[in-house]
């Protein structure tokens, strides 16, 4: 299916939707309005849970904050509902930012648990403030007016709700396809990779959380002016779990899943409300929540992926063009050959009583390939982690390009020009090859969340894509840029990691056992690639086990054993060193 057919189908669906008030019964339109309002919250949860992997049970309370803010402003203070919108968005986002700052550094379930508690706290707060109508709520909220036309009928609200929803969907889709959106998608699967790319994970988490709250705020504002009445009940924790249900049932991580889920759950709820009184007349109210929860549990047990991915697998794939060539992104100046680039002085790392790295010092010179070798347990990977900031040194000093990076975070070390790969390949398997490489270019580009959502980033994006394609071509993976990274064999995944590291335009490339698991041919190709990179002025530090690979390739070797440096020198000198022979082969009897 071509992009053109896609656009046509989308246009037809949108037209059919916008004509709905002309061929649907008023009751159906009201139902559609609720679906639309709920879709905003579900959309926020799709971004939050499906994309970024955080779970919030507090979305209904964010919606509530916004609804109460606009109700207070318009019904009690007599301001325009549009001012109410501003107030609703500002207050909701501020609360979300505070909640996020308090919890987002902790493991995911702390955020989720706190949102339950705050959801309840908020419910009691609204219920007990006499100025906000206590548990009776605020009634006679004025309708939204556009110009002099008040939107009173459900047909009129329909357009406001669905046009806003369509705009939000488009913005969300744009966002996911941008620099900031890729960072959001990379959050799932741990911080180690994200930070090593120069992405501030906490900042991206916080922004995602606030965006989800913003969508809930829009929903709350629309809800307040649609039903013209707010009370604490529609915003309690039960509703939050219903929203979560919508986001998950539709399809984790699929934007359209939000609308599909909201529609399905709203209709199901309606249907259960109609049906249960027929089966069990006296207890239907209680049964409803039992049936609903049970259905949700069974769904999570049996069909966690949701509806949209299930349908999508039957649709023909969209053909996508290879990104066009564009002006290259600005590059860093590489230092002159032979100059000291990085100095490690007496670096030490203790794990409790164990000293994994003990006062190790060496120098990396510009435009050379330096190998760090040693038997298992010598402390190579720990040394590696100290350099890249994945671990903090207990003592000593590491200076890179005249900057002390001993205490710097992985994120700022990455930004200083050190790019790394991982011993156990860390890719985002559900992202395409080109998106994985684009993650590498994160620190070289600037566009933020807003630019991404509003498509103001296209110029930069084009250059970044062209750069990513160049790196993919360079490692020999340029033929199918839109395949999923998870489908590659291990050897190619290692190459993809290198392409990602190169996209960052590093000064120093640090590779953790790049040849592990590669076949002979692949190793030869890798060695060739590293030689080319050195010739182009890049400095490379690698940790490696494979002696054949190392001996023929590198300029100098540093040997470690039991956490200490054994010796350093050219491959020939190291090979001849008696201490090295003893470390690897045991003493001569």
């Amino acid at each position: 299916m071509s992009a053109r057919t896609n656009t046509l189908v989308a246009a037809a669906v949108v037209l059919a939707l916008l004509a709905a008030p002309f061929y649907m019964a008023p009751f159906t339109i009201t139902l559609m309005n609720y679906i639309g309002v709920y879709s905003f919250v579900a959309l926020g949860l799709v971004l939050l849970t499906g994309i970024a992997g955080m779970v919030s049970f507090g979305q209904a309370s964010f919606m509530g904050i916004a609804a109460y803010a606009t109700a207070w402003a318009s019904a009690l203070m007599g301001f325009s509902p549009w001012l109410g919108l501003v107030l609703a968005v500002v207050v909701t986002c501020a609360v979300a930012a505070i909640v996020g700052l308090a919890t987002l550094r902790l493991q995911g379930h702390f955020l989720s648990l706190s949102t339950i508690a705050w959801g309840l706290a908020l419910y009691f707060t609204f219920g007990n403030i006499a100025g906000l109508g206590a548990y009776n709520g605020i009634s006679s909220i004025p309708p939204v007016s556009i110009g002099a036309v008040p939107l009173v009928g459900s047909g009129q609200m329909f357009y406001l709700i669905w046009l806003a929803l369509l705009a939000s969907l488009v913005a969300a889709r744009n966002l996911l396809d941008s620099r900031a959106g890729r960072a959001m998608r990379a959050l799932r699967g741990g911080n180690a990779l994200v930070e090593s790319l120069g992405i501030n994970a906490l900042q991206v988490r916080l922004a995602t959380f606030v965006i989800a709250a913003l969508l809930a705020a829009l929903s709350g504002w629309l809800y307040a002016h649609m039903s013209r009445f707010v009370s604490p009940t529609p915003f309690d924790v039960t509703m939050s779990i219903v929203f979560l249900m919508m986001a998950l049932v539709g399809g984790q991580g699929y934007l359209l899943g939000a609308v599909v889920g909201a529609a399905l759950i709203t209709l199901l709820k309606n249907w259960i409300q109609d049906l249960l009184p027929l089966i069990a007349p006296s207890t239907s109210g209680q049964l409803e929540i039992v049936v609903f929860s049970a259905l949700f549990i069974v769904f999570l047990q049996r069909a966690r992926d949701g509806i949209v991915p299930y349908v999508a697998q039957w649709l023909p794939e969209t053909r996508r063009e290879r990104p066009p060539e564009a002006e290259p992104l600005p590059r860093r100046a590489q230092p002159d050959k032979g100059r000291g680039l990085m100095t490690v002085e007496a670096a030490t790392r203790r794990f409790g009583g164990l000293i994994a790295v003990n006062e190790v010092g060496f120098e990396v010179r510009a435009r050379e390939i330096l190998a760090l070798i040693g038997p298992n347990g010598a402390g190579k990977t720990t040394m590696f982690n100290l350099i890249t900031g994945a671990l903090r040194a207990s003592g000593g000093r590491i200076v890179f390009a005249d900057k002390d990076i001993t205490r710097a975070s992985a994120c700022s070390i990455a930004r200083a020009g050190i790019a790394r790969t991982f011993q156990h390949v860390k890719l985002r398997p559900k992202m395409s090859l080109i998106d994985n490489v684009l993650l590498g270019a994160y620190s070289r580009t600037r566009s933020g969340f807003f630019a991404g959502a509003a498509r103001l980033d296209r110029g930069e994006e084009k250059r970044a894509r062209s750069e990513a394609m160049r790196q993919l071509d360079r490692v020999g993976l340029g033929s199918r840029p839109y395949d999923l990274a998870g489908n590659l064999p291990l050897g190619n995944q290692r190459l993809l990691e290198i392409a990602r590291a190169l996209a960052a335009d590093p000064v120093l490339l640090v590779l953790d056992e790049p040849a592990a698991g590669l076949r002979r041919q692949e190793k030869l190709k890798l060695a060739e690639l590293l030689r080319t990179l050195r010739a182009e002025g890049l400095t490379i530090l690698l940790v490696e086990h494979d002696m054949d690979f190392v001996m023929g390739l590198v300029d100098r070797i540093v040997v470690m054993e039991f956490g200490c440096k054994l010796c350093e020198g050219t491959p020939e000198a190291v090979r001849a060193d008696a201490r090295v022979q003893e470390a690897y082969l045991g003493g001569v009897a």
């Binding site: 849970t49 992997g53 955080m54 779970v55 049970f57 505070i98 909640v99 700052l101 308090a102 919890t103 550094r105 902790l106 493991q107 995911g108 379930h109 702390f110 989720s112 648990l113 706190s114 339950i116 508690a117 705050w118 309840l120 706290a121 009691f124 707060t125 219920g127 007990n128 799932r188 699967g189 741990g190 911080n191 180690a192 039960t238 779990i241 979560l244 249900m245 998950l248 207890t283 209680q286 049964l287 409803e288 929540i289 039992v290 609903f292 929860s293 049970a294 949700f296 549990i297 999570l300 047990q301 966690r304 985002r428 398997p429 559900k430 998870g486």
Partner: protein
Amino acid sequence: MNSQIAAILTMDGVATGAIYVLIALGFVLIFAVTRIIFVPFGDITAFTALTLADLEAKRLPGTASMIAALALVAALMEVVALLRSGGASRIPRALLYYLALPLVPAAVVWATAGVMLPAPLRIALTLMLILPLAPLLDRIVFRPIADASVLLLLIVSVALHFALVGMGLLFFGPEGVRTQSLVDFSTDIAGTPVSGETLLIVGSAAFFSFLLYLFFNFTLTGKALHATAMNRTGARLMGIRPQRSGTIAFLLGSLLAAVSGILIAPVNTIFYDSGFLIGLKAFVGAIIGGLVSFPVTAIGSVFVGILESFAAFQSSPFKEVIVFSILIPVLLWRSYSFVQTEEEDEE
């Protein structure tokens, strides 16, 4: 507020806190062993109180039919799973554990319906009735997704809570209950009147915490549970079945919830949905302990109890708000003072 009132409030808070200690310990226990944040814990506490009240009123407690229904579903699931995996020979054993054993206390309750039993027997019967509840829920709800991520398990757990609240209303009705006092004396500590109930609650909490400590440190089963909590794969390699550890953890959790329910029943009016708030406040205590440390959890829970008691005195409608707001400083403190371990969640 004078010192006399402060002392009374503190006493009150310690008693409430002691109940939270029991529940929070259960949370930490189940979370550590199974990675499940068992939100419905408070509901089990509330169901215990409602069961005891039903027995006192010579009514057939809703728990009996609830357990019977759950046992049937669990047994059915177990039999189907065994048939599929070709373990038909283990079916009788499964039926014994999942159907027969849970039904025994339910049968006793049925047999003695309408008879006024002496108080200790009522309490024992309530405990027996409640004990299988959490393990059965584990079998039905969590076992099929035991390997899912913590967050997914949490979502399921919250959904289960809502299902249980609905069931609570169906099986127990909307009336609040308060049971007879367990003890009936009071004394003075440093000029502050202290009721026997308070002493009993604090004593029981201390006793059961101590039992838990003994269990974990001095029994092989306890150590197996501890091992499962530390490293599931490692424990499995040592021949410990994580499923069995999970069942034991849920059984212990059920016991802790039941004890707390029996203790809280005479001092607080309990409705079918009271459990959630009780559970959440205990949660705040558990979060203070980072969901790992038993002693810090206990201290945190007592602190929550005292805070709640003072908050209720100062501004009763906002006491929940005050209790939940302390989560913010607590979480800030935790997030800036503890190094986070890398969280490798699912891809």
